[in-house]
């Protein structure tokens, strides 16, 4: 076990995590130069483009150190966003050490700190790495000071590298071997392995990525997943070296894959513990939490003809993303679609972008919603995550909404604005405490629904990018919620209905009305756009009709011209959705349903 090092790389977005991973892989010769694509671990286009890692990947690298011994370096990639905090946590839990990357010109940033806290909380040994030292704007001395002052780490232990040029990578590999501890565990004990990721292989089914804490596992062994209580027979074990390399066994301290003929990812729970069926471990690996969808939205194809394509795309996506759930849904205005559940807003974003980019679909998403617990007058309880199915207000005794405990880290100078943001968002029991010098933690109990709308962007903006945010679900609390409908000339546009706190109903309704008024083209008659709670109108805008829309002359040659123009217009209208006699272009839905911002920019 002494020759094993399990580690991850953690960094603020864009500080060069992926490039550094690529360089380590290359230096260890795990991949032929000609096969090499930059940022190998971020295999999805979307991740490359956004520079964030969504789906954790892992790779085992053989490395012969200066002491002459060959080590097995297991690099466990970590996703970089709060939605995937469970996954981050689990990835970190599979490691003994972490490389904390700091950009040589940007210095220590919010996520750097958040990541460090998480790593130290989980008992990891952290080696600071100063990256991008080749940049003209690099200021290594200042960054060393920040590492000392803001992170409380030894700046002289920091390894200076340029992942881009490969400078310092050898020193870093030596540091991994010499500074990070080897794993511990008992290879003779019952198997206890953490399932920290799973991928789908079209031929072999689910590929479980696991970290062994105890025991030894070979093909043919019957295993049990302790939380989901599923039994499987192991077909193959081995190491991930960018491709799977089968091995005779996996044992304590090692990281590898397990194939067990599992047909789909949907029954798997990341964070589950794998053990032997005949000789189970006494306790699972701690820290398991079920990844439950908390954000819901309906996805419709822009063109109703694309419904079949959307169905197929979701099926495929689901194979690689067990946390995505969906069921059929339909809207009078937008046609057939799917009601989907997501881990959070970024997850929603990622799914949308993957559907659009990888499957070439154009989509409309309804306003994100949380799941409410509604107690009816007769005492019955119903769960509602879709405003369409919200019971009639007269039949409701009480509504409960999910609350989270939000933990926000911010430089001290933004404390006031962060506290104000929490207050605006109906935060309760908001407290703050000092962390390191000049750095505060604000803890607030917030309705999850208020976080869905633009909270993260606002936090980033008011803290100039330094604020970081994490949350966990707390409980359900009584809320004063109303269903706001949007009416166009008296007809309800079902896709635009949403559940909101009563205090926010009017401004939200007005914003929707105004956005619609801006994006629905003027038509031949007056269009009234109204926001309503039940029968009560709470907001209203009007689109005035054209007053003059006729060409003066219409003789011989003008007629053909006019008809052709009209035929072209009618072609364009096919892309419109009809609500009553009003033509609503798809862009109007997109504009209304785009992520909320507090003030419209235009």
């Amino acid at each position: 076990m002494d020759h094993i090092r399990n580690f991850c790389i953690i960094a603020h977005i864009d500080h060069g995590k992926s490039t550094l991973a690529d360089r380590l892989i290359q230096r260890c010769g795990a991949v032929e130069a000609r096969e090499f694509r930059d940022q190998i671990l971020d295999s999805m286009d979307l991740e490359r483009e956004r520079g964030i890692t969504i789906k954790a990947n892992t790779v085992s690298l053989p490395y012969t150190a200066k002491d002459g011994r060959t080590y097995e370096l297991n690099l466990i990639d970590t996703p970089g966003h709060v939605d995937f905090s469970h996954e981050v946590r689990r990835s970190l839990m599979s490691c003994e050490g972490a490389l904390l990357v700091v950009d040589a010109s940007q210095g220590v940033e919010a996520q750097t700190v958040a990541n460090l806290y998480l790593a130290t909380e989980l008992g990891l040994t952290v080696v600071p790495v100063i990256n991008k030292i080749d940049l003209p704007s690099a200021d290594v001395e200042r960054v060393m000071e920040e590492i000392d002052r803001d992170l409380g780490l030894d700046p002289f232990a920091a390894i200076q590298v340029s992942a881009k040029l490969g400078t310092g990578v050898d020193d870093l590999l030596e540091a991994i071997v010499t500074q990070l501890p080897p794993p511990r565990g008992d290879p003779q004990a019952p198997v206890r392995a953490l399932l920290f990721d799973a991928q789908y292989d079209a031929y072999r089914g689910a590929v479980l990525l696991v970290r062994f804490f105890d025991g030894t596992l070979r093909a043919g062994t019957r295993v049990r997943l302790m939380h989901s209580d599923a039994l499987h027979k192991v077909e193959e074990v081995g190491f991930e070296r960018l491709k799977r390399v089968p091995a005779g066994q996996l044992s304590a301290g090692e990281v590898g894959y397990v194939l067990a003929g599992i047909k789909s990812l949907s029954g798997l729970a990341i964070g589950d513990t794998l053990t032997e069926a005949e000789r189970p471990a006494a306790e699972p690996v701690p820290g398991y939490r079920e990844a439950k969808p908390v954000v819901f939205s309906s996805i419709y194809p822009m063109a109703t003809d694309d419904y079949e394509d959307l169905t197929k795309a979701l099926e495929k996506l689901k194979l690689n993303d067990a946390s995505l759930i969906y069921e059929k849904d339909s809207s009078a205005a937008l046609g057939f679609g799917f009601r989907c559940g997501f881990l959070g807003l970024l997850h929603l974003d990622v799914v949308q972008e993957r559907l659009e980019r990888e499957y070439g679909l154009s989509l409309i998403l309804s306003a994100p919603s949380v799941r409410y617990r509604v107690v009816l007058l007769d005492g019955k309880e119903v769960w509602v995550d879709n405003p369409t199915f919200y019971p009639d207000a007269g039949g409701i005794q009480a509504v409960f909404e999910p609350y989270i405990k939000a933990s926000i880290m911010t430089p001290e100078r933004y404390l006031g604005t962060v506290m104000e943001l929490c207050r605006e968002r109906r935060g309760a029991e908001t407290t703050h405490r000092f962390l390191a010098a000049g750095r505060m933690e604000v803890v607030s109990q917030l309705p999850l629904a208020e976080v869905l709308f633009d909270f993260y962007d606002r936090l980033k903006s008011i803290t100039q990018g330094y604020g970081s945010f994490d949350y966990e679900l707390l409980d359900y609390r009584l809320g004063d919620l109303v269903k706001v409908d949007i009416l166009v000339n008296g007809e309800k546009v079902d896709a635009l209905s949403q559940l909101v706190h009563r205090d926010f109903a009017r401004p939200r309704a007005l914003r929707y009305c105004e956005r619609l008024a801006k994006t629905i083209p003027r038509q031949q008659f007056k269009i009234a756009i109204q926001g309503a709670i039940g029968g009560q109108i709470i907001a209203r805008t009007t689109i005035n009709p054209f007053r003059k829309d006729v060409t003066a002359k219409c003789y011989g040659g003008d007629i053909t011209r006019k008809r052709k123009l009209l035929e072209k217009q009618k072609e364009g209208k096919k892309k419109m959705k009809m609500v009553g006699a009003v033509e609503i272009p798809q862009e109007a839905f997109v504009a209304v349903l785009r992520t909320e911002t507090d003030e419209d920019e235009d």
Partner: protein
Amino acid sequence: MLKAGAAARRRFVQHLLAEVPLAAGAWSDPRPFDTVYFGGGTPSQLPAEDLAGVLEACRAHLPIAAEAWVSVEVNPEDVTAEACAAWRRLGARTLSLGVQSFSDEALRFLGRRHHARQARAAVQTALDAGFHTVSVDLIFGLPGQASEAWQRDLDAAVALGPHHVSCYQLTIHERTRFGVAAKRGQLVEMPESEQAVLFELTHRRLADAGYAAYEVSNFARTSDHESRHNRKYWDHTPYLGLGPSAHSLAIADAAGSPGARRWWNELRTPRWEARIAAGEPPVGGEEALGPRELATEAVLLGLRTAAGIDLAAFAARYGFDLLAANAALLDRLVADGRLTVESRPGAARLVPTLAGLAVADGLGAAFEVPAVASPV
């Protein structure tokens, strides 16, 4: 538009005369033509004898009714008592004057050669000459034009008392002098709200003076003074056009289904002349109109006229009920005062209001014309 000299004019007339038999050869509708219109340019630049020659050629090759209504479009600067007498001898019963404005400033802007004083005199001369119908063309909606200025133009026209007035809003087309200026930002098209004000002013002022609007831009003292010829463009009566860029329409109902063919001559004079010289009909392009195209046009054109659409005739020709196919839309448009349905027994019509006429293009576009096979 002939800017060239006498030689070019002569060449033009010769080709026009030569076009008549070529066009007649391709024309198969046996029904007589009951209107002849010299216009769509400046025919008054041609001597009346030339016009007479062309008319004679038409009579020789085409079934022109003996009592066919002849109209001539003229420029004010060409109107003299002598010229009027010559046009009357030609058989012209309607004289249409391209006055455009009674303001020198506006005329300069529009690049017209005549002055306001000349325009007034020309209208008076035409009226004195005893034509059945004297018509005055005016243009409004000039950039920055105040409603008072336009009102003065209308007042001037009303004071002269022609039988017919056409008021065209200035349309700025790309690739024209105004289009280029607009693109460069040297000229700002009148905003829609102001256009609407002038449009309403036009209709109100002329209605007060006893001129009934029978189309978006056309007003007449009595129905007898309405343009018999222009109406044909709006109700798919066949017409044959001669000269560069002239359009023609022939009805070609086939297999129990409404159909038509529309074609147009070469746009440029040299090309038009060359085709004729080669002994070919100088047709530059054509289109076939099926029931759906014709129904679309019928709605579009019908909603531009005060008479609107005869619903029974429409249903008989196109095989569907226009109102039923557009019920939701119709409700809105009637409620908003754009359209009315006049339902006298056996004569139901869909009629635009003044506010409806002002947006007739949009109305036409809003109506759904289903693709249905229909009996004729």
